[in-house]
């Protein structure tokens, strides 16, 4: 029987995997649990964009900028450690192209990009008539365009499974099909074990990385937090000739949709190709609880906006539609840090529509906080002990 793990990470999505990777890199013994198959939750629904373009100046942009840098260091290091096959995550620094199609949209996009430049983002304003050089098949009716060369893409499930492979290679364990049901606490109140569907697992530290289900586990652990699901649906076309869509292209209302807390359906076309030749059309945002029905009305809106951006897509068959639940906190910021009520319990969740991109910096930050190292980003905005996360959590969780 192996010694007890130093840390148990609950949830083997990309966020839990990144935490486990960083913790094992710091020399800790880690066990990762997932009640299903690792990387089969929200992570399997993610489009894999690693973006700075959609973020306004503020703490999330700072975390995103760190995460971009971190992925660029981490991936080559993992390739050294695991070999090229196992470290393959289809990283593609393709760049983002944000366009506006109305006069009003042009003004706000231009102002948004200017503010991002102040915050250190590379945001290159393009003359509308030069956009065709980057995307020849884009609609000609463009009123403004900004190119974000830093935006990248990776394959979320490959990324998560690569991170978990590193955990295993360093002696950690990844256990599929094991649900965390609650915590055992020592006399002083600190965590002593995780109660699981496969028995108790003694440990002094537990990381709640349950994605949109983090609220439920937090409640089971006796320390409720408010994390809610926000439905997102993606359309996938059949394979297209290379070069049909070259960047990640989206209309500027995407930025509004990301920032909004509205329950009503919001869509904006985010169009990009994958290495397999398919084009992904994402994504919708809707608060419908955990209802996983795929609605034709939602698909229609995605299709309509995609065809408006790329008229050539009209004749392309739709191959698939799928969805997931983005985990979000009411103030739309990730939750990363120790629980203020239960010593030894940590929460890492709430990454909403950006968890794939933010995972690298998030894992690093959690490991720094947990081991007492100097954090590379200011953790204050993400702390658990903030009103949006704790207020009313008892009732809402």
């Amino acid at each position: 029987m192996a010694a007890h793990p130093d840390v148990v990470v609950v949830g083997a999505g990309v966020v839990g995997a990144a935490c486990a990777e960083a913790l094992t890199a710091a020399g800790l013994r880690v066990t990762v649990l997932d009640r299903g198959a690792p990387a089969s939750g929200t992570t399997a629904a993610g489009e894999g964009n690693v973006l700075v373009s959609d973020k306004e100046p503020g703490p999330e942009l700072v975390l995103a900028q760190h995460s971009l840098r971190r992925w660029r260091v981490l991936l080559p290091a993992l390739r050294e450690e695991l070999g090229p096959e196992l470290a393959e995550v289809e990283w593609d620094a393709k760049g983002g192209l944000v366009v506006a199609t109305t006069a009003a949209g042009a003004g706000s996009l231009t102002a948004f990009a200017a503010a991002q430049r102040q915050a250190g983002v590379r945001a290159e304003q393009l003359a509308p008539d030069r956009v065709g050089e980057l995307e020849p098949l884009l609609t000609p009716g463009i009123t403004a365009a900004v190119h974000y060369p830093e935006d990248a893409q990776l394959h979320p499930v490959l990324a998560a499974t690569t991170l978990l492979a590193a955990v295993r290679a360093r002696g950690g364990a990844v256990r599929a099909g094991v649900a965390a049901l609650g915590l055992r606490r020592a006399a002083g109140g600190a965590v002593s074990a995780v109660v699981t569907s496969a028995g108790d697992l003694p440990t002094a530290a537990v990381v709640n990385a349950c994605g949109p289900w983090a609220g439920a586990f937090a409640t089971a652990a006796g320390a409720p937090i408010t994390v809610l699901p926000r439905r997102g649906v993606v359309l996938v076309t059949g394979p297209l000739p290379p070069g049909t869509v070259r960047h990640k292209v989206y209309d500027a209302d995407y930025v509004g949709a990301v920032a909004s807390g509205d329950a009503d359906l919001q869509t904006s076309a985010v169009v990009e190709s994958t290495r397999a030749g398919t084009v992904l059309v994402g994504s919708s945002r809707q608060r419908v609880g955990f209802d996983d029905t795929i609605r034709v009305a939602v698909l229609r809106e995605l299709a309509r906006k995609a065809v408006a951006l790329f008229p050539v897509l009209a004749d392309v068959p739709v191959q698939r539609a799928y969805g997931g639940f983005r985990p979000y906190a009411p103030d739309h910021l990730p939750v990363i840090g120790p629980d203020p009520r239960v010593a030894g319990l940590w929460h890492v969740t709430g990454h909403e529509g950006a968890g794939i991109g933010l995972a690298a910096a998030t894992g690093q930050l959690l490991a720094e906080l947990l081991t007492g190292a100097e954090p590379h980003v200011d953790p204050t905005p993400f702390r658990v002990d903030r009103p949006a996360v704790l207020t009313g959590a008892e009732v809402r969780a």
């Binding site: 059949g238 394979p239 030749g277 004749d315 392309v316 068959p317």
Partner: protein, 119 residues
């Protein structure tokens, strides 16, 4: 290719088929039969493959015959990704098969996918 010749099933274009659709296959004029599918037309003309895969350039033709495998895709009237086994020929249809592309790199498999009948 001699699509009018019918080396396979017994009857050729039936004499009673007054409204027999006139179509073109890769630019060649062909008389089809009413009620014939594009796959039925191609197979009765002796073709076994009419498309190649994106990855390995492997030849593909009919496989499931009932619209589930998507092996048999052709272009009809400028629209790609039409299942030949499901699509009925209509008068005036311009049917395009996708011949096997030339090998991307030297040393690849010979790209002679335009071969049609075995005669």
């Amino acid at each position: 290719m001699t699509p009018e010749a019918d080396h396979r099933g017994r009857p050729g274009p039936s004499t009673g088929d007054a409204g027999a659709p006139q179509v073109t296959v890769d630019g060649v004029a062909v008389t089809a039969r009413t009620g014939q599918t594009v796959a039925g037309l191609l197979v009765s003309a002796g073709r076994t493959s009419w498309r190649s895969t994106r990855g390995g350039g492997r030849p593909r033709g009919l496989f499931c015959g009932i619209g589930v495998c998507f092996d048999c895709l052709v272009e009809v009237n400028g629209v790609p990704d039409v299942r030949a086994c499901q699509r009925l020929v209509a008068d005036g249809d311009d049917i395009r098969t996708a011949p096997r592309p030339r090998p991307a790199a030297p040393g690849g498999p010979a790209g002679d996918g335009t071969r049609t009948g075995e005669a």
